[in-house]
Symmetry: C2
Subunit: 471 residues, 2 copies
């Protein structure tokens, strides 16, 4: 199985799959469908990976439906692939060996909300924006923001993070507990609503980031955070990338309550200017967001950051407290991917995702940008600089084998560079099928530990096979 | 096995253990000892559990020594028990089935410190206070504070937390990576220095809190935090416990940067007043600590908290920014355990550890205090109220079977109450041998998942057997 198109449908309608589908049609009725369009819709995420359609798609309405599906999977030995919003980037949801796609989007109820405890329990198919809407007027928010309107279940399954991680953490820090259906159909709850616990192995953190390879997440209990009293955004341009990164390091060392620090390069700003009709200077640029107790406090933070930036070659510092100005800025940032794709009609993005210690960030980006000069396609860069995580967007022709080959070569070099710098091959997009070789490079003997866990919990390798670790 | 004294030395000097010791004496020389005093020192933690001595104690000087020990353990089928400062409270380090205690305290080097990246790598035997000393003058601190001067390896192994968790998180949030020696002697590193990663199963979080039952932690890479520019402490007394807890909820909902919120009851304050020569009123009391960017900012926070407390029946609000005043306050708080023990010479403490959603905290404490009226020993209460975690200290005669029986009954009721409230049986002390039955009550089918993981990684059950889950 692999990156360039040989994704398999070989198992379509084996006897086992036919029997499982027939069984589930009786047991669950319209919850399961073989509709060709729906199968096609569930054959891919948002990445360059070649699609691979499941044999059928299930739309469970409740955990008990998932139990029924998992029991059929066990009885007939059929693979299952949990599916949320389909916004993943490493081939996570592709049915590489056929089987049943389990689409959780019909399970989209907010089950419980506690303002006093600042937590909420949602079904896995609730999306990020849906949750944000439900929290309006509560004074609370769920800050993890990967950009896409992903499902909360998918975000948990891939250990998602994004622009606000520098302050609020990733899904790892913000999931209190999960309800999970195990490969044999057993339902388990991985934690309680206690804010912390030392009760045994950390099953919550084991399933967060397991990418559907150990069980199906059906409910998620999340920590919420108070909506800050005051928010400000700022933009600052630098002549040199090193100055921008040094500013980030200084800001974090001062312990300022910065909620976002995003780094964009000239090529990315050019794409954004064209797409969003903005006119940012074409140079390394930081986008900031500050959260504070009151306006004066965020103003002080912005002023401190301005002087830190100025000492490091930053100029054109502009800051905004008005909602519409802030929205315009973050709207432009959020559209970075679409802006990049618009540089080249018909293109798809291959998005790299390394994360390195911040002290190595400038060096890593500069060496990579040097490599990218040879790329046969445009390359844009956006980074969650406060975390040391950045993305090179290769804007490529998905039908060009030579471009895909060039992208693979560049990405491999980047991953190797990040690992040399004691970084990781994937900061937030996960392994899927796309980063399995990188995972081995990064973790070495750790992959054997992962495989032992996989074998212990899913000995038949029915849970999203061909992803993360294979048996 | 169990709580009341029948801890076993039955395996002392079986042929296998004799062979393992003989082998290691040749391979590692003075690293291993059968000295009776040292064996006795390694037979217990700081809890009421009956001691159980190992057959020998090893003092590895480096990871390679641990590898040699684990290979001998595998070859001869001998249990090993990792040992740090011996400050654990649930029987974690007791050699219930004999074997080799692995004392990591000779591995006490700070291996690497990065001020730019705000992280540090230490050997497992470095203690909390030693690390604090090494960080002096760096502008950085490691905030996790369980009270005892535990080793960093032990703190990672038990997922320790403490007074500052409300702001800085537990070991779960502050460990970036571990070096672990697996049961067969393989060395693995669970993560990189990247601030976040979605590269496969979260092995770091699996070993954090695994209590030596899956491998031996030999190195820990930690996140550090900037030392706050300004710090203030405050004390406030309440007529009713409910008012104190409501104040905590209001403070957290406002998003104030409170670094500590500790709740003490009248009995505990009485013990503290006697022990530390203080004169706190004997009523429910909150101790606060605020961290901020400058004095004015912490002053504003203290004033906000004062008015929130006053609206909820708080009075006698006093706050202190001077280091010596703050130290006196936190010194008194830190000595709560010793103050309690001083109420009754010759006593030992049985320390409960439930953690519940904060909205249920007052109800849980009040019902428990009602139960405690029947206790045949003094009971003091301290709580990390911001997390919903509190400890009842049963100050008991460890030689009295009836007192131990009464303590067990009270603790069982408390655990059941916490679980009914969607809390956990142990917020920060871990499972050890003392909470294994509670773990089953809390996790149900989740314990089968834990057992499957244990079996996958330690099929011979040589790693700290009789703790967390047993095979």
């Amino acid at each position: 199985m692999g990156v360039f198109g040989e994704a398999s449908e070989m198992s379509r309608h084996t006897n086992e799959i036919a029997a499982a589908i027939a069984h589930l049609k009786v047991a669950l009725g319209p919850v399961i469908t073989e509709n060709a369009t729906l199968r096609e819709n569930h054959s891919h995420g948002e990445s360059y990976h070649a699609p691979a359609a499941p044999d059928a798609v299930c739309f469970p309405r409740m955990t008990e439906d998932v139990v029924e599906i998992m029991r059929a999977s066990a009885t007939f030995g059929v693979p299952v692939i949990p599916f949320g919003a389909g916004s993943s980037l490493e081939g996570h949801v592709h049915a590489l060996r056929g089987g049943l796609s389990i689409d959780l989007t019909q399970m989209n109820k907010i089950l419980r909300l506690s303002q006093e405890d600042m937590d909420v329990t949602v079904e896995a198919g609730v999306t990020r924006l849906q949750l944000g809407k439900a929290l309006r007027n509560t004074g609370l928010m769920f800050p993890v923001d990967p950009g896409a309107d992903a499902t909360i279940g998918g975000m948990a399954a891939t250990r998602a993070s994004g622009t606000t991680t520098v302050r609020y953490g990733t899904m790892r820090e913000n999931v209190l507990a999960l309800k999970v259906v195990l490969p044999d159909g057993t339902v388990t709850t991985t934690g309680t609503r206690a804010r912390k616990s030392s009760a045994g192995y950390d099953l919550t953190r084991l399933f967060v980031g397991s990418e559907g390879t150990l069980g199906v997440i059906t409910e998620v209990t999340l920590r919420l955070h108070p909506v800050p009293e005051a928010v400000a955004a700022a933009v600052c341009t630098f002549d040199l990338l090193q100055g921008a990164v040094d500013t980030v390091i200084a800001v974090i060392q001062l312990g300022l309550r910065v909620a976002r620090i995003e780094l964009l390069d000239a090529q990315q700003l050019d794409a954004i200017n064209k797409y969003s009709k903005t006119n940012y200077p074409l140079a390394p640029t930081l986008f900031f967001e500050f959260h504070g107790d009151h306006d004066r406090h965020v103003a002080e933070q912005a002023e401190t950051v301005q002087s830190l930036a100025a000492e490091r070659g930053g100029h054109g510092f502009e800051w905004a407290t008005k909602l519409e100005e802030r929205d315009r800025l973050w709207h432009a940032r959020h559209n970075a991917l679409y802006a990049s794709l618009a540089l080249r009609p018909g293109s798809r993005a291959w998005t790299t995702d390394v994360c390195v210690p911040i002290s190595r960030l400038a060096e890593c980006i500069i060496a990579t940008a040097e490599d990218n000069k040879k790329a046969p396609f445009p390359v844009c860069m956006v980074g969650h600089a406060g975390d040391g995580n950045f993305h090179m967007l290769y804007v490529l022709d998905p039908n060009s084998a030579s471009e895909l080959e060039a992208a693979k070569r560049l990405n491999d070099r980047l991953v190797d560079r990040a690992l040399t710098m004691d970084g990781t091959c994937t900061g937030e997009h996960g392994v899927g099928s796309g980063k399995m070789a990188s995972l081995v490079k990064e973790h070495g003997t750790g992959v054997d530990v992962m495989r032992a866990i996989k074998r212990a919990l899913d000995p038949d390798n029915r849970m999203n096979p061909g992803k993360v670790v294979d048996l």
